[in-house]
């Protein structure tokens, strides 16, 4: 019987792997589409520590899953030690890791990621988990190449007794209380458990933020015969205010790297414009059946209703941009402060007015805190005055909702074949509906708001269809609470079959797994947006916004294998490899999801090839370590960036397709016990993660008609005049907002239930997130090399030459290409070189952390543990964790102006990326009492 099962499983795995080469996306490119967008200021990720797990980080600080493989000396520690720098293992996005709850995969189908705020504040529950790397077999399912965790939420797995925890800290929140109880399994086979938490900060460590989160978990389980049925429900209704990134100039003016542009005074009180409301009530039912000692079936069903919304300032008409750090408010908008000529005494003395205006703005910024924050009162006044004139609210707070309904089901069968073989097989189904819309949160003293696209009105006139958010209700006057702007649903269905097989023979250990995934997605527009109307040749319009799109269908899957050799106890060498075809995410699938149904071009399965070699070693009881080398290649990825583009004053989507990336590196961890209670440890990684081609680009701007959208996508060959495929010059760009190199040195000491740990961490190779927009082939300069050796710029002046007659001029040209990027053509119109603009790398730096703890056991057998973590003891406030380039180039064009005449803005966006800094010195005091 075992042999039959083995052969069947192996054949199925091989068949699936073989099938990968034949899989074609069954993309029915219908006429419709949609999803949640991560805007550019929500860009960076970071990993978590236990104490940060419940920070409910912003989208800007999305937690990256660290597969906490319990036996891996590197992965088991990396999250704890490097989370302060938002370190991501192997620079991978969280979507390449997988999190399971009771064996049910819980990654969000729209974003691809698991949302840690789901269990925010329920730390006592999340400790019960099994982790695995991306290649090893586990007991719950197939993970992504970033590995995965399975969190056990069954009531019987919550420790018996009561536990009360109090926390004080100076992070996103300042106080936390958690109470958890578990009955254990009673004699009648029942188990009950509960956990309640509350996290709070009237003002977090970042000025203008607050935190308000209640969390709960209730679980019950009944065991009988060989069955167990458990039911769990949990959620964490949270309201929190966000921090925003800003430029170095602004940090300098505010004299702090922790300046937050998101708040301002309203009638003397602090008010934040970016407030997140998040509540994802979830119900999980699990049936465990163990018919015999060799077989086990775990079936889990879940329902989740996710309510997520975030607020943001909006402004209409010609209202002035209310963001305090809007570039026109900054001193550097007066003259080019980055050009030595402008800073020279000659220019300064002949342009005293420039210095005068610069000083006026400098004084304004530095004279009062209120001056550098949002001026809420001013917005109320403007709205009042405009209302008296019978007009719209010119300023408002909108709330962008990304709700979700999820039904998911999985079943995992485990079959043990003797002591040396194990087979798992499973099925997984998920039906997700994403509900995306925005509502009017606050009219700020205004009376109504007309639901039109103000930019389309400016471009095409008030009567143009592009101006209408919903042509079925044109020029609708909306009030607070009403939906406006956009409203659409997405539907994503996934069906997965998987199997894994483990074999142990002497010193050899083989893990093989395979999976097959069918995915389909669709958009359903609830508004008939004017921009989604496609004009046909006869002048009539075809609606491409309201109603359902066609389905896009993909058949993906993959397989992986790991062969390990343990020649002697304590020495283990392993080789692993995987190949996978992964369906694109619905969030990247539509050209402008908020307004229309069109799918992006080149929407296809992403191919992921990955491999690693690992040496795990243990010498006696004293020395334990790991060395690992890995390489991963990503082919045909699709990635969409959505941002407000104030070059054309509208919300813009930029999709890169046929994108290639590679991630590679070395990882090392070693721990050595000097004494029985004193050990030293070291951990490090040296890695790379970069784009290896210039992906195809597709732009779509809300409020723009077809003709103008075609113009912004146009890239002509300067010699032949032929239209070329628009590209992003991304080759050589690094994955940003995570250290690619990190080193940890530390020591641990314990005595009489006292625990001490000290860590020194060095981080380097952190890159700013690059802007694909600034590197579009029709945005960067295009040059032509003629046979006289001269370069002609084709964008600014068709006739202007850039003669290169000396080494100095050649060097200057190369420097310009390196800094600003460009495409160089030969005289026949062939591309001879493409260069992406230089990507900024942040300075490396040290951070020192320490923790001290004490466990106390009382006579009544109750225990208390006290732990104090001190992070960034040296108060290094100059460590950039990441950031992003602004999606804007330094030149100013309009669609109607001569495209050859680009005017350089005084304010240089290329010099003004926005940054996040690691927290200054902070502490985390945790006291828990178990009874």
């Amino acid at each position: 019987m075992n042999k039959v099962v083995t052969l069947t499983a192996a054949a199925w795995a091989l068949a699936v792997m073989g099938l990968m080469g034949q899989i074609m996306p069954q993309t029915v490119v219908g006429m419709e589409g949609s999803v949640t967008q991560t805007t550019e200021d929500d860009g960076s990720d970071f990993s978590f520590t236990e104490s940060q797990l419940d920070d409910d980080v912003d989208a800007a600080q999305t937690i990256s899953n660290v597969a906490s493989s319990n036996n891996d000396p590197y992965l088991s520690q990396v999250g704890f030690r490097w989370s302060a720098m938002r370190f991501r293992v192997r620079a991978l996005d969280n979507m390449y890791s997988t999190t399971f709850l009771n064996g049910l995969e819980f990654n969000d189908l729209e974003l691809g990621r698991y949302n840690y705020s789901l269990l925010g504040g329920l730390n006592d529950l999340t400790r019960q988990k099994e982790g695995s790397t991306g290649f090893e077999n586990n007991s719950f399912g197939v993970t992504g190449i970033g590995g995965g965790d399975n969190i056990n939420l069954r009531a019987s797995h919550v420790s018996k007794g009561n536990k009360f925890t109090l926390t004080a800290c100076n992070r996103n929140y300042k106080a936390r209380a958690i109470y958890t109880f578990g009955t254990g399994v009673t004699s009648r086979g029942w188990a009950f458990a509960g956990s309640f938490g509350y996290r709070w900060a009237n003002e977090g460590v970042i000025e203008g933020t607050f935190y308000d989160s209640f969390s709960y978990y209730l679980g019950a389980e009944k065991r009988w015969d060989r069955h167990a049925l458990s039911i769990s429900t949990f959620g964490a209704p949270t309201k929190r205010a966000q921090q925003g990134a800003s430029t170095e100039e602004v940090y300098w003016l505010a004299n702090s790297h922790y300046y937050n542009p998101n708040w301002g005074y309203q009638d003397g009180e602090k008010r934040n414009a970016r407030v997140v409301n998040d509540y994802e009530p979830t119900l999980i039912i699990t049936w465990d059946w163990k018919p015999d000692p060799k077989n086990q079936l775990v079936t889990t069903a879940a329902f989740k209703y996710s309510n997520y919304s975030s607020s943001s300032l909006g402004w209409a008409g010609d209202a002035y941009d209310p963001r305090p750090d809007y570039y026109k408010n900054l001193p550097s908008s007066i003259f080019n402060v980055y050009d030595p000529e402008y800073l020279g005494s000659e220019w300064q003395s002949s342009n005293p007015q420039a210095r005068e205006q610069w000083t006026t703005l400098y004084d304004f910024w530095t004279s009062s805190k209120a001056n550098r924050q949002i001026n809420w009162d001013r917005m109320y006044l403007v709205n009042k005055e405009n209302a008296l004139l019978g007009g719209d609210a010119l300023y408002y707070v909108e709330r962008r909702h990304n709700d979700q309904l999820v039904w998911a089901l999985s079943s995992t069968w485990t079959h043990a074949m003797g002591k040396s073989q194990k087979l798992l097989a499973g099925a997984y189904l998920n039906h997700t509906i994403g509900l995306h819309y925005k509502t009017m949160d606050d009219l700020l003293g205004g009376v109504f708001f007309t639901d039109v696209d103000k930019y389309a009105i400016n471009d095409y006139g008030r009567d143009a269809i592009q101006a209408q958010s919903d042509m079925r209700h044109p020029n609708r006057k909306i009030k607070e609470g009403d939906r406006f702007g956009y409203d659409y649903n997405t539907y994503v269905d996934v069906a997965k079959l998987w199997a894994q097989y483990g074999l142990q023979r002497g010193p050899w250990n083989l893990d093989v797994s395979a999976h097959l995934v069918a995915t389909q997605m669709q958009r359903d527009g609830k508004m008939q947006n004017g921009q989604g109307q496609v004009q046909l040749q006869d002048g009539s319009f075809h609606d491409n916004s309201f109603g359902k799109s066609g389905w896009a269908r993909f058949m993906g899957g993959g397989g992986k294998a790991q062969l390990a050799w343990t020649p002697i106890a304590g020495q283990r060498l392993s080789l692993a490899g995987s190949a996978e075809k992964k369906a694109p995410l619905v969030r990247n699938a539509f050209v402008a999801p908020r307004v229309q149904n069109n799918y992006v071009d080149n929407l296809k399965l992403e191919t992921i090839l990955s491999g690693e070699a690992t040496w795990l070693f243990q010498v006696g009881e004293a020395l334990v370590g790991k060395v690992n080398a890995y390489y991963s290649r990503f082919i045909d990825g699709v990635e969409q960036t959505a941002f407000y583009n104030d070059a054309n004053f509208s919300f813009t989507y930029l999709t890169m397709s046929k994108m290639r990336r590679q991630h590679y590196g070395l990882e090392m961890a070693v721990s050595y016990k000097i004494l029985s209670n004193l050990s030293v440890h070291a951990m490090g990684t040296l890695s790379g993660a970069e784009y290896t081609n210039n992906p195809y680009a597709q732009l779509n701007t809300e409020g723009m008609n077809q003709e103008d959208n075609a113009k912004v996508n146009l890239w002509k060959n300067p010699i032949t005049g032929e239209k070329q495929d628009l590209r992003v010059l991304a080759k050589g760009m690094h994955v940003g907002s995570t250290p690619l190199s990190a080193l940890n040195l530390g020591l641990k000491y314990n005595k009489n239930y006292w625990f001490l740990e000290f860590n020194a961490n060095y981080y380097n190779n952190v890159y700013v997130g690059f802007s694909p927009y600034r590197r579009l082939s029709n945005i960067v300069e295009n040059y032509v090399f003629d046979n006289q050796g001269a370069y002609l710029t084709t964008k600014a002046y068709a006739t202007e030459t850039w003669p290169i007659t000396s080494d100095e001029e050649r060097d200057a040209f190369r420097k310009k290409l390196k800094e600003s990027g460009g495409v160089v053509f030969d005289q026949h119109g062939n591309i001879v070189g493409s260069f992406g603009a230089e990507q900024e790398k942040h300075d490396g730096g040290w951070m020192f952390d320490a923790s001290i703890g004490k466990s106390i056991r009382f006579k009544n057998r109750s225990t208390m543990s006290i732990n104090l973590q001190l992070q960034n003891i040296a108060n290094n406030t100059d460590l950039r964790t990441g950031g992003y380039e602004q999606n804007r180039d330094d030149n100013y064009y309009t669609l109607s102006s001569d495209p050859k005449i680009g005017k350089q803005k005084t304010y240089l966006f290329s010099k003004n990326s926005k940054y996040y800094y690691a927290n200054a010195f902070n502490f985390y005091l945790n006291v828990s009492y178990r009874f």
């Binding site: 709070w200 308000d212 007015q353 471009d459 100013y892």
Partner: protein
């Protein structure tokens, strides 16, 4: 156990009560708000009393209005009052309010532009609002012969060309309103300054055709003129013009300012032929990207009210769509 539970529940209740308040801010009393109270303009009574008028100011500094694109910085307290008679509410005027002062005793009527770096001035500077300006530290001069108060700046630089841009009298920083500008009283919709000067009759057209009147003294003016648009005259109505900077022709039916025809100043000029002075004309200049820009060009004789200035000839910018009236 009960004791623990009661403590827990009490704590939770307290937490929920706390949480209801976190982050919430009461609405301010908007009726007590003013440009002064929100820190836009100077507190009432802080500026010195007026020591000149717009008319006297223009006479005193006339040389800076006669020579194109010249200006001077005022280094002492020079204070005057004016009434807002044009602003950016209609979107056709950008970063601009026009102040006018009629002194019936002296028999003077003069206007000047106050240029301010902000895209939405009209909620602060409503029509009929009296405004006090202290020129100390500000610059007085002209931009293409238009008398204005502003601050000099360099225009944008051509990307890789050798040009360093042009040096012009641009708008003052919005932040300077706090120190140099004060609102006096409430807007008065009956203020005489809101009545345009009428040039619609034959005598008015003759005045306009007299080139000696193209002087800083009469520039800018809130004026009404009458005529018909040349681009809509008979067969012209169906002849689409080509843009200076963009390939292609303007769409039909014609509107005031299609983007395809815009010049480097982001505006479109249309020719208004006078009714009585045959062959004589002036320009109706309209910025792109506002409601006036998308108005259909009228084929009939109409009156036009707006900010009138001169460069090589008279030109007018309408303030609102309602400034165009069919006769």
């Amino acid at each position: 156990m009960k004791q623990y539970l009661s403590i827990l529940l009490s704590g939770l209740m307290a937490a929920l009560l706390f949480s209801a308040c976190t982050g919430d801010v009461d609405d301010p009393n908007i009726w007590a708000m003013s440009a002064e109270s929100v820190g836009v303009t100077a507190p009432s009574g802080t500026l010195p009393l007026p020591n000149t008028t717009i008319y006297a100011l223009k006479e005193q500094y006339s040389s800076y209005f006669v020579n194109n694109n010249t200006w001077t910085q005022i280094k002492k307290d020079v204070v005057f009052d004016g009434v807002v008679c044009a602003n950016d509410e209609g979107g056709n005027l950008y970063q601009t309010i026009m102040l006018r002062d009629i002194d019936e005793e002296a028999g003077t009527d003069a206007s000047i532009i106050l240029a301010i770096k902000n895209s939405c001035l009209y909620p602060y500077f409503k029509m009929g609002q009296r405004v006090r300006v202290n020129l100390k530290g500000l610059y007085l001069g002209n931009y293409s012969y238009m008398p204005r108060i502003g601050q000099p700046y360099w225009t944008s630089v051509i990307t890789t060309g050798s040009s360093t841009g042009n040096y012009r009298l641009g708008p003052i920083l919005f932040e300077l309103l706090q120190t140099n500008v004060e609102l006096v009283g409430k807007p008065d919709p009956t203020a005489p300054e809101l009545t345009p000067i009428d040039y619609t009759d034959e005598e008015g057209e003759r005045w306009l055709c007299n080139t000696t009147h193209m002087s800083y003294r009469y520039c800018p003016q809130l004026a009404t003129v009458r005529g018909y648009i040349k681009e809509m005259y008979k067969a012209y109505a169906d002849i689409a013009e080509s843009g200076q900077y963009l390939d292609g022709k303007e769409p039909l039916p014609k509107i005031f300012a299609p983007e395809v025809l815009e010049d480097q100043g982001y505006g479109v000029d249309r020719t208004l032929l006078f009714v009585h002075q045959t062959g004589k004309w002036m320009t109706i200049r309209t910025s792109t990207q506002n409601d006036i820009a998308f108005m259909r060009l009228p084929a009939d004789t109409c009156t036009y009210t707006g900010v009138m200035s001169y460069y090589t000839g008279w030109q007018m910018q309408l303030r609102y769509t309602s400034d165009l009236k069919h006769q």
